[in-house]
């Protein structure tokens, strides 16, 4: 293998030369660090192969993701109501002004934020507990893990219906516990039930992600901490959590993005009544029920932007690394 390396890039090139073609992706990734060094024919061919291998997936992504996104952006810039198709017209950012000055939008936004923050926080704590239990269990490990994952395996709509029936006065066992009151007819209790259903359903997912993080904590590290004089709590906060940080951030990111798009539980439990709509519900109501493609698309784009901001904050500010990437933080 010939490598034309300038002195500056020599080290990176030498490092990149070591692995053989078996791990083609690794040298390609490393070579990026030595950017500036002229590429050998070999490297260039490797890079071209990389692009070729990515191409089909990238193409599919463009078709199923980029096109709808761009199309909805295009729709959001128009007055476009299917009930009045003749009035279709390009209006620039007028739809955005309409939505962002509307109280319904901000109420829904507040509800969504509340649900997101509360459920993710509670799920993190419960998920960590569950992950620790699953990680530490010695007897019946398989059964414990399966049992813990059942809620996540149930279709959300089905679970939501079972919650709804449980809280229905007269027939529901949970409603009867509270003297047959009707909690789903009041705003605060409805929101609480929605959050409960969300937490019940997705805590196992959180636990699963965190358990993968727990596996990253070497046993020796905990032993060292206990001989160094750490209590169980100190071992958890000072050793386990920092080492698990990348896994925790990834879990939080996933769950936050998911939670922000909450839809099915609300749809089934309250159908958005008593001001319990989330932004997704609102967008659905305008787009599908109201047939107002312009306003509905505007809301969709706003949701998309919010989600993008959340992801940006996580990745840039908290340094969340994509799962599988290794930035040295983990070691």
């Amino acid at each position: 293998m010939s490598v034309n390396a300038t002195p500056a890039g020599a080290e990176a090139a030498a490092e990149a030369e070591q692995p053989t073609g078996k791990h083609a992706a690794v040298p390609a990734q490393r070579a990026r660090r030595g950017a500036g060094a002229p590429l050998s024919d070999n490297k260039r061919a490797e890079r071209r192969l990389g692009w070729l291998l990515c191409a089909p997936a990238a193409l599919v992504m463009v078709l199923v993701t980029a096109y709808p996104i761009l199309y909805s952006v295009w729709l959001s810039l128009q007055r476009f109501d299917l009930r009045f198709p003749d009035e279709r017209q390009f209006v620039g950012l007028e739809n955005y002004v309409t939505v962002l000055t509307n109280d319904f939008w901000w109420t829904a936004f507040g509800v969504t934020m509340l649900i997101t923050v509360v459920t993710v926080a509670v799920e993190l704590v419960l998920g960590m507990g569950l992950a620790l239990i699953m990680h530490r269990t010695l007897v019946g490990r398989g059964i414990v893990r399966t049992a813990a994952l059942i809620p996540y395996g149930i279709v959300t709509v089905v679970a939501a219906f079972s919650w709804r029936y449980a809280w229905t006065p007269g027939t529901g066992y949970l409603a009867n516990l509270f003297d047959g009151s009707a909690p789903l007819t009041e705003r605060a209790s409805s929101l609480a039930i929605i959050m409960l259903a969300e937490i019940w359903k997705t805590t196992p997912f959180m636990a699963l992600l965190l358990m993968a993080g727990l596996a990253l904590v070497p046993e020796d590290l905990l032993k060292a901490a206990s001989t160094d004089g750490a209590t169980a709590w100190q071992r958890f906060t000072k050793v386990m959590l920092p080492v698990m940080k990348p896994a925790i951030l990834v879990a939080l990111l996933f769950r936050t993005l998911d939670a922000f798009r909450v839809f099915d539980n609300i749809f089934v439990l309250t159908n958005g009544g008593n001001e319990t709509s989330s932004v997704s519900m609102l967008a659905y109501n305008n787009l599908i029920r109201g047939l107002n493609l312009g306003i509905g698309s505007t809301m969709s784009v706003l949701i998309f932007i919010t989600v993008a901001i959340i992801a940006f904050v996580f990745v840039k500010l908290f340094g969340t690394a994509a799962p599988g990437s290794d930035d040295g933080e983990r070691r």
Binding site: D220, K223, S226, T227, D228, G229, Q234, K238, K245, R331
Partner: protein
Amino acid sequence: MADIVLDKVSKRFPDGTTAVQDVDLEIADGEFVILVGPSGCGKSTTLNMIAGLEDISSGELRIAGERVNDKAPRDRDIAMVFQSYALYPNMTVRENMAFPLRLAKMDKETINQKVEEAAKVLELTALLDRKPANLSGGQRQRVAMGRAIVRQPKAFLMDEPLSNLDAKLRVQMRTVVSRLQKQLGTTTVYVTHDQTEAMTLGDRVVIMRGGAVQQVGPPQELYDHPRNLFVAGFIGSPSMNFLHAKVEEGRLRTALGDVPIGERVRRELEAGDAPRELILGVRPEHFEDAALIDDETRARGVEFEAPVDIVESMGSDKYVYFTVEGERATAAELEELAADAGAADFAGAGSNLVTRLSAESPVREGENRRVWFNLEKIHLFDPGSGRNLTLHEGRSAGALAD
């Protein structure tokens, strides 16, 4: 600083296996004791029990005279160094070393001072603000040592601390560990599977096999007076040669010719249950080129002639490998040792004899060479029990002793 006493300490796991059985050991204050043995011999489990990382199934463990069986590791005031170094990846070198002090709620100034001191001793001062990920193996190892010494604990426990280093660095760090221990005078228990480390480092060496202690003593004593076949084969590199020997007409018939035996061994062999077949053990350095010795020395041993297989010249002396025909010595201990060395399936036919001859010997590969070996230094083992028959009151005096 403190003494550590293990009183019939055992470890049984829930599935019924016994990892450590009735270990009795008294480690004096300031002593450097090595636990050594092949993998699975229970040495690490023993160390973990001293640290408190494993429960003790039965027996008593005392540190500084106090029973600590039920004390948590953090209350035992011991420091441990791990094979993997176990450095906290999110903390800098300084924070790593300060961690036990911070947990002990010392004030910042004292912590800083102690960390700086320890860093100076281990030459880590320039690295204090780096993260472990940016350190070499040797540096990480030193940080792990640093974290152990800042606290001035009652004892250091080290679990194969040098095994992850490359050979050259390991030799270097060995002297660092040794010097540090002498300087601090802290009681140290050190686990290793490497007999060279055990020989060079410890005041006393504990050899373990299958959860039981085989022999305890200073390295030289273990080398010169091994109590059984296992100890004899484990200590020494290259290891002791073992040959099949048959007792016939008051002599030992071996592949190296007949070997006379003295009064004491004869008495030993005349006992009713004495074995008729023995294993003869000779260390490589107790052979010599027969052409190079004077008559007085010659009288203390016997000579044989055998074809030279391979000559390895080390400069100071020569390792010469001979092929000897005849029955191989077999015993459970020897098989275990071979398995540990990874040579169980690599024996070939006949016995291979390793000898260490003077550098002046003109020995060449392929020729037949006359070689002498010292009868005062040979050991005879019972293949059944592994017992060293030449051992008398803890001393081995060879086959000829009266």
